[in-house]
C-alpha cells in the first residue's frame, strides 16, 4: 500500500510538473519546476527501499544492518533539496527581471 501511494504521488507530481513547465507563463513554469523537483526528491528517497520504523543511524553496535534504513539516499535527497531550492530562487530573480524588462510574463518575452 505504501509503495502504491508513493508511486502514484510521484507520478501525479511529475505529470503535473511536466504539464506546467510546458505552459507559456513564467509563473506556471516555476510551479511546474517545483513540482518536478518534489517528484524527483521522492524518487531519490524511494531508491533507498521503503520501510517504516527503521533509523538510518547506527544506535548500537549489536544487531544486523538489516535493522537500519539506507542513509545514503537520505543524504542525497537533502543535498538535492538544498540545490533545487537555491536554483529555483535564482530562477525567480531572472523571471522578475524579465517581467520588469519586457512588461509581460510570457516565457518568450512577448505575447504570441
Amino acid at each position: 500500500m505504501m509503495e502504491f501511494l508513493l508511486a502514484i504521488s510521484i507520478g501525479i507530481l511529475a505529470g503535473s510538473g511536466v504539464w506546467l513547465v510546458l505552459r507559456p507563463r513564467t509563473y506556471q513554469v516555476i510551479i511546474g519546476l517545483s513540482l518536478c523537483s518534489y517528484a524527483v526528491n521522492l524518487f531519490i528517497f524511494s531508491m533507498g527501499r521503503l520501510r517504516s520504523g527503521a533509523a538510518p543511524i547506527l544506535s548500537s553496535r549489536t544487531g544486523s544492518l538489516a535493522d537500519y534504513a539506507d542513509p545514503v539516499p537520505q543524504a542525497l535527497v537533502l543535498t538535492a533539496i538544498v540545490i533545487g531550492f537555491a536554483t529555483t530562487a535564482l530562477f525567480l530573480v531572472v523571471v522578475l527581471a524579465s517581467r520588469g524588462l519586457t512588461g509581460t510574463d510570457h516565457v518568450d518575452g512577448q505575447e504570441r
Partner: protein, 548 residues
C-alpha cells in the same frame, strides 16, 4: 614534504572557492583589487594545472580520499591524464577570458569576479571527482555560476536567453538526479570505479534498470554537450553572453563530453559483459546528426556570434561521434580536436566582440551589448572616467591585427595548415580510415565513411561562411570605423592562436600524451584498481588511545 604535494589535487577546487568567497566580501567599487585577486587565483590555478599534468603524465591515476574515508564509502578525487588535460585546458581558457575582461567587460555588471571563480571551481570539480553524486553537485555549482555569468551585462536579450537556459538546465538536472538515484538503487554504490566492478556482476533484470538509468543520465549529459535535438538552447544562450563569458562557456559544453568519455568505457566497456557498448550507436548517430545540423547552421547564419555557436555544435558533434566509435586511436585524435577546437572557439568569441565593436551599433545583434556597456559607463560604479564611447578611432593598425587574428581563427575552424585544427582533423581522419584493430581485411565501416565525409564538409562550410563574413567585415566597408581596442584585449586572442600554432608544431609530444590518455580511458582497469586500493593517510599517533 611528500604529504603536502599530495594535497595539490584538491587545490584546483579549493583555491577558486577561497578566492571566490574572498571576492564576494569586497564591494564593487574596488574593481582593481578584485581583478587582481581573480588574476592571481586564475594564474595560480593555471600553474597548478601544469604541475598536475606533469604528475599525471609520470604516473597512473592518483587518488585523493576526501576526509580520509576509504574509496567506495567516501568521495574520492581522481587525477589521471584525461582530467589533468581538461584542467589545463580550462585554466588556459579562463586566463585568456579573464585578461580580456579586465579591459572593460568586468565592470559591466556586479560580482563578475566572484562568479568567475565559482565557475572555475565547478568545472574543475567535475573533472576531478570520482563519484557520481559529487559530479552532480559540481555540475550545479558550475551551472549556478553560469546562470549568473550569462546575465552579466544585463539587457533584455540576455535576460531572455538566461530564462530559457535556466529552465533547460534545471530540467536536465532532474534527469541527472533520477539517473543517479536509479544507479544507486540498482548497484548500491555511486563511486565510478566501484560501479565498474559491480556492473558486470549484475543480474539480467537489474541490467535493464541500469541501462534505463544510464539512458536517463545520458539525456542530462547530452543536453550539456548539445547533441542535436537537445542542443537548441546553446544557440540562443552563447551568442547572447558577454564575450569573455562566451569564451569560458566554450569549455562548459565540453564538460558533458568529458563525462561521456569517462563513463562510457568505464561502465559499458568490454568487461561489462553483455551490456558492453551500450548507447554507443546512439552517440555515433547523434553526433553525426549534430555535425550535419551544425554545417547547415554555419552556412545559413549571418551574424558572427551565431556562426561561432554553430561551429561549437559541429565540434560537439564530432567529439560525440568519436566517443560513440569508442576506438582508442580515434579517441586520441578526438582529444587533440577537443583541445584545439575549444581554444579556437574561445578565441573566436573574444575576437567577434572586437570586430563587431567597429561596426554600426544598432544594426547588428551586438546592439544590446553596446547598450549595456554604455549604461554602465554612465553609471556610478565606473571609476575611470577616461573612456567615452566604445566606437571611435583607435590605432590605425588595429584592423590589420584584427584581420590577421580572424584569418588565424578561420584557418583553425576550417582545418587548414599550419594551425592545430589541421593536425587534429588529420589525426581524426587517419584513425577513421585505418581501423587498427581489425586489420586491412575487415574494411572500413560505413559509419567511418559518413563521419569522414561530414568532417570534410564541415571544413568546407566553415571556409565558405568565414570567407563571406570576413570579406563583409574587413574589405566591404568603405568608411569603416576603426574600433578602439586595447592591447590587453589583443593579447589573449593572439596568445590563444599562438598556443594552437604551438600545438601543431609540438604535435609529436602532444599526440604521445593524448594517445596515452586515450588508451588509459579505454582500459580503465588500472584507474579502478588505483581508486579501490587507495591507501588511507595513517592517523597521527595519539598517546593514550590504544585504537579499536
Amino acid at each position: 614534504m611528500d604529504g603536502w604535494a599530495h594535497h595539490l589535487i584538491i587545490a584546483p577546487i579549493a583555491l577558486p572557492l577561497v578566492a571566490g568567497a574572498l571576492l564576494a566580501v569586497y564591494s564593487e567599487r574596488r574593481q582593481f583589487l578584485k581583478g587582481l585577486i581573480n588574476l592571481v587565483s586564475t594564474l595560480s590555478t593555471l600553474y597548478i594545472a601544469i604541475v598536475l599534468l606533469q604528475k599525471a603524465d609520470s604516473s597512473a591515476a592518483s587518488v585523493y580520499l576526501l576526509g580520509n574515508w576509504p574509496a567506495p564509502f567516501g568521495i574520492v578525487l581522481v587525477l589521471d591524464r584525461l582530467s589533468a588535460l581538461m584542467l589545463l585546458l580550462t585554466s588556459v581558457l579562463a586566463c585568456a577570458a579573464l585578461i580580456f575582461s579586465l579591459a572593460r567587460w568586468h565592470t559591466a555588471g556586479a560580482h563578475f569576479h566572484t562568479l568567475f571563480q565559482f565557475l572555475l571551481m565547478g568545472v574543475n570539480g567535475t573533472f576531478l571527482t570520482g563519484d557520481l553524486f559529487n559530479l552532480f553537485v559540481f555540475f550545479e555549482v558550475m551551472l549556478a555560476s553560469s546562470y549568473g555569468l550569462l546575465l552579466h551585462g544585463s539587457g533584455p536579450r540576455r535576460v531572455q536567453a538566461s530564462l530559457h537556459y535556466i529552465v533547460v538546465n534545471l530540467t536536465a538536472s532532474f534527469f541527472f538526479l533520477v539517473g543517479v538515484s536509479l544507479v544507486y538503487g540498482v548497484t548500491g554504490t555511486l563511486n565510478m570505479a566501484d560501479l565498474a566492478v559491480r556492473i558486470p556482476a549484475l543480474s539480467a533484470e537489474n541490467r535493464m534498470l541500469l541501462q534505463a538509468a544510464a539512458a536517463i543520465l545520458g539525456i542530462a549529459f547530452l543536453t550539456k554537450a548539445a547533441m542535436w535535438p537537445l542542443g537548441f538552447w546553446l544557440l540562443s544562450a552563447y551568442p547572447a553572453a558577454a564575450a569573455p563569458v562566451a569564451a569560458v562557456f566554450a569549455v562548459l559544453s565540453k564538460v558533458g563530453i568529458y563525462v561521456l568519455l569517462r563513463l562510457s568505457p568505464m561502465l559499458f566497456g568490454t568487461p561489462a559483459g553483455e551490456g558492453a557498448g551500450f548507447g554507443s550507436t546512439l552517440l555515433l548517430a547523434g553526433g553525426l546528426a549534430t555535425i550535419a545540423f551544425g554545417i547547415l547552421g554555419v552556412l545559413a547564419s549571418q551574424a558572427m556570434a551565431r556562426i561561432a555557436g554553430f561551429c561549437l555544435l559541429v565540434s560537439s558533434g564530432t567529439l560525440l561521434a568519436a566517443v560513440g566509435l569508442s576506438d582508442p586511436e580515434i579517441t586520441g585524435g578526438a582529444l587533440l580536436y577537443l583541445v584545439s577546437s575549444t581554444l579556437t572557439i574561445g578565441a573566436f568569441f573574444l575576437l567577434i566582440e572586437l570586430i563587431e565593436r567597429g561596426q554600426n551599433p544598432g544594426a547588428d545583434v551586438i546592439a544590446t551589448t553596446a547598450e549595456a556597456l554604455r549604461e554602465n559607463e554612465q553609471g556610478e560604479d565606473v571609476e575611470d572616467g577616461g573612456e567615452e564611447g566604445e566606437v571611435g578611432t583607435g590605432y590605425a593598425g588595429t584592423p590589420a591585427i584584427l584581420g590577421a587574428c580572424f584569418v588565424g581563427c578561420a584557418l583553425l575552424l576550417i582545418g587548414l595548415p599550419p594551425m592545430s585544427g589541421f593536425v587534429a582533423k588529420l589525426a581524426l581522419l587517419a584513425a577513421l580510415l585505418a581501423p587498427a584493430g581489425q586489420g586491412a581485411a575487415a574494411g572500413i565501416p560505413m559509419a567511418n565513411w559518413i563521419f569522414t565525409v561530414l568532417l570534410l564538409l564541415s571544413g568546407l562550410a566553415a571556409l565558405l561562411t568565414l570567407s563571406r563574413v570576413g570579406i563583409r567585415a574587413f574589405w566591404a566597408p568603405v568608411d569603416a570605423v576603426i574600433p578602439r581596442v586595447l592591447v590587453v584585449e589583443f593579447v589573449p586572442v593572439i596568445a590563444l592562436l599562438l598556443l594552437t600554432l604551438g600545438l601543431a608544431i609540438q604535435g609529436g609530444p602532444v599526440m604521445r600524451y593524448l594517445d596515452e590518455t586515450a588508451r588509459a580511458v579505454h582500459a580503465p582497469s588500472s584507474y579502478v584498481e588505483r581508486v579501490l586500493a587507495a591507501p588511507r593517510v595513517p592517523a597521527p599517533k595519539v598517546p593514550g588511545e590504544a585504537g579499536r
